[in-house]
């Protein structure tokens, strides 16, 4: 049987990869992708905990669905933001969006 730790390690790895994407990628869309990866990692954790610890209580899956909702909203709004920024500044490079700097 597959032990829980495998899933946890996988989720951790996925999360770290996503984090790297978020931190290192130039393109704002790519950053969004990284965020999606991290969310997926979280989902994996949730579901595996549900499956391994107490399948009678569906909390894990419910949280997963909530996370999915948030992910969908985040993708929609984030992409809308990226598109409108692209319209104004003709660039989706995250580093170019530094109006807040000194």
């Amino acid at each position: 049987m597959v032990p829980l730790s495998w899933y946890l390690v996988l989720a951790a790895a996925l999360f770290c990869v996503g984090l790297y994407g978020v931190l290192a990628r130039k393109n704002a869309v790519a950053i969004l992708m990284g965020i999606e990866l991290m969310l997926n990692a979280v989902n994996i954790n949730l579901v595996s905990f549900w499956h391994y610890l107490n399948p009678q209580v569906m909390a894990g899956q419910m949280f997963t669905i909530i996370v999915l909702t948030v992910a969908a909203s985040e993708a929609a709004v984030g992409l809308a933001l990226i598109i409108s920024i692209y319209r104004r500044r003709n660039s989706v490079i995250a580093e170019d969006m530094d109006l807040m700097k000194w």
Partner: protein, 421 residues
């Protein structure tokens, strides 16, 4: 093993036989399960891939009839083998990959389009006990894998490194993504009525076909499914007169053949799903004694749906893109939403009233649908009148195109002002 058993439950019998056979070889039970599943996949896939050979011939003949032609009738009896000849021709054609194309994506796209359609058939019940896998969220699964087709078309269109192809891809996304919404909503109506998402369960739940209880939903599902397929009148993604051939302009040989197959198969799948969801699937006389009959009934119903699709293709002109979007967002989505609400309320009331007779229930729901339809038509008429009055007042009726003002200016100014010391 006796013949009766085989007739009653062919799959179960053969599966048991195979299991014992493999076990005798000495495999782990898990491995056996995997092997059996793979065999099932192969069977269903081959069925789904052979079917189009017939579908294409069927459609060509029908279209020819509609256009007062003979259609293919040379190769084989009634030209039945014509499609095989075409397939051979396609396979022998040179496989061209345009320069600058994204090879990986370019090659994956057609495969994916076929895979998407075929994997739909994994949950379609041919008969009460003949089906790929009993998935308790079958309806949802249908939607999910259906969206893969969209992906495939988009990938192909983008990877071809061709302007028209990309335009086709854009149109695809615009059309397919937006028509998914009313399709899913109308799909929810039979799910509601059957209280399950398992397709087989849905079929079992309609002693009276749901088309009686939910005609509007059935209509919407059918139309949106056709739009999903991209058949006329929704074939904007491959409109020859506008964008030469749309997303598959650069494809040749068997890759194009795959898209072709996928489209026909998808069209038939639309008929099949309509049959499953609204026409009672494999239900018919004598299916209890001989479940195999169900396959016949199911195929008949599916072909009826497919026939209608073909008739639509031959009969209707292409719809304009803005009309297409308006139809979706301004008519289909609200209508399907209202249908869902009405269905929920009325069905609940019926349940409360303690009416258990299926015909009575269906009749009441039908009445509700009729009333709803009347209301919708009333609203449509009024809005249409207002629109006409508005256009007459406006003269030409089309507001002037206005330039989007340059958004860059304020942002640029801020960018310059910010680093001031």
């Amino acid at each position: 093993m006796d013949i009766g058993q085989l007739i009653k439950d062919p799959l179960g019998t053969l599966g048991g036989l195979l299991t014992s056979l493999l076990a005798s070889i000495g495999l782990a039970p898990g491995a056996i399960g995997v092997i059996e599943k793979i065999i099932g996949v192969v069977i269903i896939a081959s069925f789904a891939l052979v079917l189009p050979l017939f579908l294409i011939w069927f459609e060509r003949r029908v279209v020819a009839r509609m256009q007062d032609r003979m259609g293919p009738n040379r190769v084989g009896p009634q030209g039945l083998l014509q499609t095989i000849a075409d397939a051979l021709k396609l396979m022998t054609k040179e496989d061209i990959t345009p320069t600058g194309a994204d090879k990986l994506v370019y090659n994956i796209a057609p495969i994916l389009s076929v895979v998407a359609i075929i994997s739909m058939w994994a949950v379609v019940p041919f008969a009460s006990n003949i089906l790929g896998t009993p998935l308790n969220v079958g309806a949802l699964y249908i939607v999910g894998v259906g969206s893969l087709g969209t992906l495939a078309i988009m990938m192909g269109g983008w990877a071809s490194n061709n302007k028209y192809a990309l335009l086709g891809a854009f149109r695809t996304v615009a059309q397919l993504v937006s028509y998914e919404a009313p399709m899913i909503l109308s799909l929810l109506v039979p799910v509601l009525l059957a209280r399950t998402m398992d397709l087989n369960g849905i079929v079992q739940a309609q002693p009276v076909a749901f088309i009686v209880a939910a005609p509007i939903a059935a209509l919407i599902f059918f139309v949106t499914s056709v739009a999903e397929v991209g058949r006329t009148p929704f074939d904007l993604l491959e409109a020859e007169s506008e964008i030469v051939a749309g997303f598959h302009i650069e494809y040749s040989g068997m890759k194009f053949g795959m898209f072709f197959v996928a489209e026909f198969l998808h069209a038939f799948t639309v008929g099949a799903l309509t049959a499953v969801l609204f026409l009672g699937g494999w239900r018919g006389w004598g299916t209890d004694q001989v479940p195999l009959l169900g396959v016949v009934y199911f195929m008949l119903k599916a072909f009826v749906g497919y026939f209608i699709v073909v008739l639509m293709r031959t009969a209707l002109p292409r719809i304009r893109i803005d009309h297409m979007l308006d139809l979706n967002w301004k008519f289909l989505v609200p209508t399907s939403l209202s249908v869902i609400v009405v269905t929920i309320v009325v069905d609940k009331l019926i349940q409360q009233a303690g009416i258990t007779n299926d015909w009575a229930r269906s009749g009441l729901l039908f009445l509700a649908n009729v009333v709803l339809a009347l209301a919708i038509f009333g609203i449509l008429r009024r809005s249409a009148r207002q629109l006409r009055a508005f256009e007459e007042a406006e003269g030409s009726g089309h507001a002037a195109e206005h330039e989007p003002e340059p958004h860059g200016q304020p942002a640029e100014a801020g960018a310059h002002a910010a680093p001031a010391h």
